[in-house]
């Protein structure tokens, strides 16, 4: 099968790659570009561990084809911090111990970033439904919700 040439923007950088027509964006990120921060927990869009933002829209990268990234802007966990400066969500996840094993954490951070971009002052219920597409098996979500609440407060004050 002939590869598809794709020109896209990932975390602000221009990126070009060749991928197979049936290859997912998650496979491209992980296997071709070495961006292994997005995780494959299910491959069927049920766990959210592969969450990325494409043109401002939160998606499961396992449900997007690599070819579909042509001409778009992709944001992944690797681009969330600015150099040494962690994003407030990253900092609050650390402070609240909102991760145990951490495999779901990149997906939660991306989903929470998308949530706060659209709703800077979410209620607890809005956070819970906003993050309902991401599975965590370790924490019971308590500390994740608190970390997002705290980060939202910090970001509003900033």
């Amino acid at each position: 099968m002939a590869g598809v040439a794709v020109s896209t923007t990932i975390n602000g950088d221009a990126v070009e790659y060749l991928c197979q027509p049936d290859e997912t964006l998650l496979e491209v990120l992980r296997d071709r570009l070495g961006l292994t921060g997005a995780k494959e927990g299910c491959g069927t869009g049920d766990c959210g561990a592969c969450s990325v933002i494409v043109d401002g829209r939160l998606v499961c990268s396992c449900l997007v084809l690599g070819a579909e990234a042509e001409g778009r802007k992709v944001e992944t966990i690797e681009g969330m911090a600015h150099g040494d400066q962690l994003h407030p969500l990253q900092q609050k996840f650390l402070e609240h111990a909102a991760l145990q094993c951490g495999i779901c954490t990149p997906g939660f951070l991306i989903a929470a970033k998308d949530l706060l971009a659209k709703n800077p002052s979410p209620t607890e219920e809005e956070i819970r439904f906003g993050l309902a597409g991401n599975l965590c098996r370790c924490t019971g979500y308590d500390k994740i919700v608190r970390a997002v609440q705290d980060a939202a407060n910090v970001m509003k004050g900033a």
């Binding site: 995780k39 927990g41 650390l94 111990a97 954490t105 956070i127 819970r128 597409g133 500390k143």
Partner: protein
């Protein structure tokens, strides 16, 4: 040097604080490397062909077409994994489970595997492998399998543990019994007796990270394995034995682990990946799909349990009896045995008897799942305890307090308890504001207790002090949820230095002595004991170096708050030497400074918890929401309280999923019908409330800081607490877990129809 593990009641400077974990920044930036995040030069992609049949003889396998496909570098079957187990039945089962040898024993059982240049080629190759099956009758239900008419899964199995060897083979591999006293006499003394039967369905640990490894076998007999595991040393032993490698030549590195909960204590794909690499002569990466994780990696047991408890009018339990049947998958296990040991462990009983039956079924090999076997037993027992309290007209908490085990109680499984936390957790629950909060229509409150043994085991730790005075701590217990933080706190505590001066890592199997699995809630318990021991050994050397520097006897040097101090008025002019100063001059005083420890961490203190749960049940749909949840548990000593809370909350959440929704659903064809997160639905954020926690600290006398394991006990009470809450909400005793909407509606209908 002799290490004294006894509790000393010291005051803590670092232990009990809540710093940020050392591995945290890699995990929030996406840099942490899990099982599937590692790659090697020239690596191939491995894939496994799995049986679509629940029970079938493998008559032949033709791999010739797959081998001819361009890009395929190796195809293997059981023939490529010859039996090297030398009569070790448990190892033979592991081998057979990794790759079916004569029969496929469950839907998803591995029968062949390929290694190819990419995933697409590997998938194509699987389709070209021709397996000729002779399909056999199968059995997936635990009660049906235990019946003497059931199809036999293994005709060589004769039930062990009976007085006489039975005449016929059966699917029951073993009978075990625990208890003391005379239950017949006890029931005769009872004024009230409650007897009921319960069922629980099979659940999966549900870790978000599928099993993943990269195996590389070299022509010279050396090999490397990168893998997500709860115990890389055990994986090394098992893989080396199954592949015929020397253990020391197989280096196993544990990746970051994306959840395990007991499910990553067993090898499945790893021996297959090594065999593929050996045959192909190249590294092979093997990652399970989610479908494979559900169909082929270990779920917990499905169970069927009968419980009978009798009590006098004054609330004293006079006798307690339980019969427990646990599914093991198609291989022998000891799951009912553990259930039989834990069932009545919370109570002080004069007459108690439990009997466990291990039952073979055509389902995946049962694996440990967080306090394995205890939640189901607790569900059955705590449901009957609640019902009996109602019959007696006693408050459910008071009834439990009256019968709770204490220090000196002989437990139902044998040993006599030391200081334990069941009574204090019950008292805390009795006084908790949650118990007094008002309930609305269709809401119910339940509470229940839980017990877990905890485990210690073999542990080896190295503590190396750098020339700059910073400390590297190398441990061999895999960090499943924050133990690098807790162990760094312990090293800082013992050395009297700041937490930030310590960096803990999980060392590979070639860098450290043997360590048992991170199971039995032993990570922080056992490795902290080894860390304390290693730190004390390092302190001895630090004192010697200071004595040498000062030219005074080492007996006159003490270690306090990170400094060597010359004790006595005659040394008044000697300023204390800091760890940093001693380290800086170590090159001139005898070389590197380190402390090592190899020990068996005995004395893991048993653990108890009591949970409170409020639910709201929609009587029209049978749908249940948990609206408030409180966990009270004894931690012995919470080293990093935030991560202890996290363990309490996580166990409760898993228990909520198990109680209300999660179950393996098999069709009549013996195939798993819900092998994905869409249909096997674990709780999501919007399903749960905040989970309140209360940490009690009843010191474990067998640990210097009083630490007990905390990871597992939290999943023991939820099934029962939620079942009691739902039963109180709907007025019908719920006896089948999960209490999914159809089951609740059926129970309500049955009640209405009388």
């Amino acid at each position: 040097m002799n290490f004294d593990p006894r509790f000393s009641g010291r005051k803590f400077a670092s232990v009990g604080t809540r710093p940020i974990r050392p591995d945290g920044i890699d995990k929030v930036t996406g840099r942490a490397r899990y099982g599937a995040d590692f790659n090697m030069a020239g690596q191939l992609v491995g894939r496994i062909l799995r049986s679509p049949h629940a029970h079938a003889v493998i008559k032949s396998i033709d791999t010739s077409k797959a081998e001819k496909l361009a890009g395929v570098k190796a195809v293997i079957t059981a023939k490529d994994l010859p039996d090297l187990t030398d009569g070790d039945a448990a190892m033979y089962d592991i081998l057979d489970n990794s790759m079916a040898r004569k029969k496929a024993l469950y839907d998803g059982h591995a029968v062949a595997a390929v290694a190819a240049i990419d995933a697409r080629t590997a998938r194509q190759a699987l389709k070209l492998i021709e397996v000729d099956y002779e399909v056999l009758p199968h059995i997936t239900d635990v009660d049906e399998a235990a019946h003497h008419h059931a199809p036999l899964i293994n005709d060589q199995v004769y039930t062990e543990g009976l007085e006489e060897k039975p005449a016929k083979p059966s699917n029951i591999t073993k009978r075990t019994q625990f208890g003391h006293g005379d239950v017949h006499k006890g029931f005769a003394e009872a004024d009230f007796v409650v007897e009921r039967s319960f069922k629980t369905e099979q659940t999966h640990q549900g870790y978000i990270e599928p099993h993943a490894c990269v195996a590389s076998v070299n022509a010279d007999g050396t090999a490397d394995l990168w893998v997500c595991t709860q115990g890389h040393f055990v994986y090394r032993q098992h893989c080396a034995q199954l592949l015929g490698l020397e253990a020391s030549k197989l280096r196993v590195t544990s990746s970051e682990i994306g959840g395990g909960f007991g499910g990553k204590t067993h090898v499945w794909a790893e021996p297959v990946a090594l065999a593929l690499s050996r045959k192909a002569g190249r590294p092979v990466k093997l990652v399970m799909t989610r479908d494979e994780v559900f169909r082929a990696s270990g779920p917990t047991s499905a169970t069927s349990i009968d419980v009978k408890i009798g009590a006098r009018k004054d609330g004293t339990i006079t006798a307690a009896e339980a019969t427990l049947r646990y599914s093991c998958g198609p291989y022998a296990g000891s799951w009912a045995e553990i259930g039989a040991m834990t069932a009545f462990a919370c109570y002080k009983l004069e007459n108690v008897k439990t009997v466990g039956y291990e039952v073979l079924v055509n389902r995946p090999k049962t694996a440990a799942y967080r306090a394995p076997s205890a939640p189901m037993a607790a569900f059955a027992v705590e449901s009957v305890v609640d019902e009996l309290a109602k019959e007696l007209g006693m408050d459910a908490v008071d009834f439990r307090i009256k019968n709770a085990a204490q220090e000196g109680t002989r437990s139902s499984y044998g040993p006599v308890y030391g200081p334990i936390g069941i009574g204090p957790t019950l008292e805390a629950v009795k006084n908790h504001p949650h118990m007094k909060a008002p309930l609305k229509a269709n809401q119910g409150r339940g509470m229940a207790c839980g017990f877990w043994f905890n485990f210690g085991g073999q542990t080896c730790t190295d503590l190396n002090i750098g020339m700059d005075g910073s400390v590297s701590l190398a441990v061999g217990t895999v960090d499943v949820g924050g133990s690098r933080a807790s162990l760094s706190l312990v090293a800082a505590e013992e050395l009297g230095i700041d937490y930030s001066q310590v960096k803990a890592i999980v060392a590979d199997t070639s860098s450290l002595g043997y360590n048992d699995m991170t199971d039995g809630s032993r990570g922080t318990f056992s490795s902290s004991m080894a860390t304390i021991s290693a730190a004390r050994n390092a302190i001895k050397i630090l004192r010697e170096r200071a004595a040498q520097t000062w030219d005074i006897p080492v007996e006159d040097v003490v270690w306090e708050k990170g400094h060597a101090i010359a004790k006595g008025e005659k040394y008044g002019n000697l300023s204390p030497l800091s760890l940093k100063e001693i380290a800086a001059s170590s090159g001139k005083t005898g070389g590197p400074i380190a402390g090592h420890s190899e020990l068996v961490a005995d004395g893991a203190g048993v653990s108890f918890a009591t949970h409170i749960c409020d639910v709201e049940v929609d009587p029209e749909t049978g749908s249940t929401r948990v609206i408030r949840y409180t966990v009270v548990q004894d931690a012995g000593k919470a080293v990093h309280p935030t991560y202890v809370e996290g363990q309490y909350q996580g166990g409760a959440a898993q228990g909520i999923g198990w109680a209300l929704n999660e179950e393996y659903i098999y069709g009549k064809d013996g195939r798993l019908q819900n092998a994905g997160f869409l249909d096997y639905r674990i709780p999501v954020c919007s399903d749960l409330p905040m989970i309140d926690t209360q940490i009690l600290e009843i010191p474990n006398p067998n640990h210097p800081y009083g630490v007990r394991g905390v990871g597992e006990t939290s999943i023991v009470p939820p099934l029962a607490a939620i079942a009691n809450a739902v039963s109180n909400a709907v007025g019908v005793r719920m006896t089948h877990i999960p209490m999914s909407p159809p089951r609740i509606l059926a129970a309500l209908d049955a009640e209405r129809e009388g």
